[in-house]
């Protein structure tokens, strides 16, 4: 790989990142506090590998010890599937930490940005923010 090819690859990568922000494909993101990262721990109840969005349904133990169910919309298989994710990436029973942009209306949900597995691996689930 020569310098010119490297430059071109870097440019394409940059353009891709810019073009992809903010990310969500077919709807406004105004119902989320877009860019405000929150973290929550829980156990996967269901992972939906579906268009137009994937969903992580998470069982969480609330502050008072009460069981809560949270819903996290994510990027589509069309985006995630070309960046290392597939329908088997998460499954029922998986314990994980989820980083998300919360819903503005206070309901238990948001848009997932990345998932952190018990061994510390981070699975990025969105275009990296350029600003």
């Amino acid at each position: 790989m020569n310098v010119q090819m490297l430059m071109r690859a870097a440019l394409v990568c940059l353009v891709t990142v810019l073009a992809s922000a903010p990310g969500a494909a077919h709807h406004s993101t105004a119902m989320f506090e877009w860019g405000k990262e929150m973290t929550l721990e829980g156990v996967v109840d269901k992972y939906e590998w579906t268009q137009p969005h994937t969903f992580i349904w998470l069982n969480v133990t609330g502050k008072n010890g009460k069981a809560e169910q949270w819903a996290f919309e994510g990027m589509s298989p069309s985006w995630l599937g070309r960046r290392g994710w597939n329908s088997r990436t998460l499954k029922q029973g998986d314990a994980l930490k989820i980083v998300y942009y919360p819903l503005r209306d206070g309901r238990k949900g948001g848009f997932y940005v990345r998932v952190i597995l018990p061994d510390g691996r981070k699975l990025e689930a969105m275009p990296q923010r350029s600003s």
């Binding site: 394409v12 353009v15 891709t16 810019l18 073009a19 992809s20 922000a21 903010p22 969500a24 494909a25 077919h26 709807h27 406004s28 993101t29 105004a30 119902m31 877009w34 939906e48 579906t50 268009q51 137009p52 969005h53 969903f55 349904w57 169910q69 819903a71 919309e73 589509s76 298989p77 069309s78 985006w79 599937g81 070309r82 819903l103 309901r107 238990k108 949900g109």
Partner: protein, 271 residues
Amino acid sequence: MERLRIRVALTAAAVALGALAGCTGSNADSSAAGQAAAGSGPGAQNGYAEIAKLPDWSGVWEPVARPGRGGPPPEPPKVTPAYAAQYAAYQEKNRTTPGINFISNVANCVPPGLPGSMLQPYPIEFLFSPGRVTILIETYSLVRRIYTDGSPLPENPDPTYQGTSVGHWEGDTLVVETIGILPETSPLSGINGHSDKLRITERIRLVEPDVLEIVTTREDPEVFVEPYTTTARYQRHRDWKMMEYICAQNNRDSVDEHGNPGINIERKPGE
């Protein structure tokens, strides 16, 4: 005996020719009735040999620079008074939260019309066959059929999301003309609806070995004071495969008539 055989053969040939003529005639009739010709024009006869002369557009094309995303924003369009208010309101929203203020119905899984369909976030793919270029659009699983066999655009096609298209090659550039686009679709982000006069012209060519450029011009005297042109670029991925995209599979998003977005996170028992 030999003479009889020849006579039978000649008769058969005459019948076949007659049938062919009748067939061609009926094609001409349906064409006159406003049907788009289906790859039966003069270009189709050259068949697959002609396709070998076309540029190589194989592979999967990822949009990397769309108007307003991935590059400097294009010059704003000159919009007629009838559409100025909604476009200004969109611009104002976009100033605070750029790129996310969709007002069209796509959040409800109603697919975008042309040209929005070509500016979706997921890839497109081209298929060449005699007299025809087919564009497959991953987002919403859309198909565009572009007749390149020399047939003219019909005068009054019934409106559809992707309209009725014909194309021709100018060197290595495919020039596509489209009319008959459903008037409730969005000709540009921030403008909902247009007249039945909307005409889209696309010039599609390779600008680098793996970069495809599409220059899109929108003409509709009821929306745009003058033709409005934007440019998009697509990066080739030879190792990608197109994916299925069925919007109704699990759409929990919505948008109301004012553009207010919603999301349903209720789960029915057993879901």
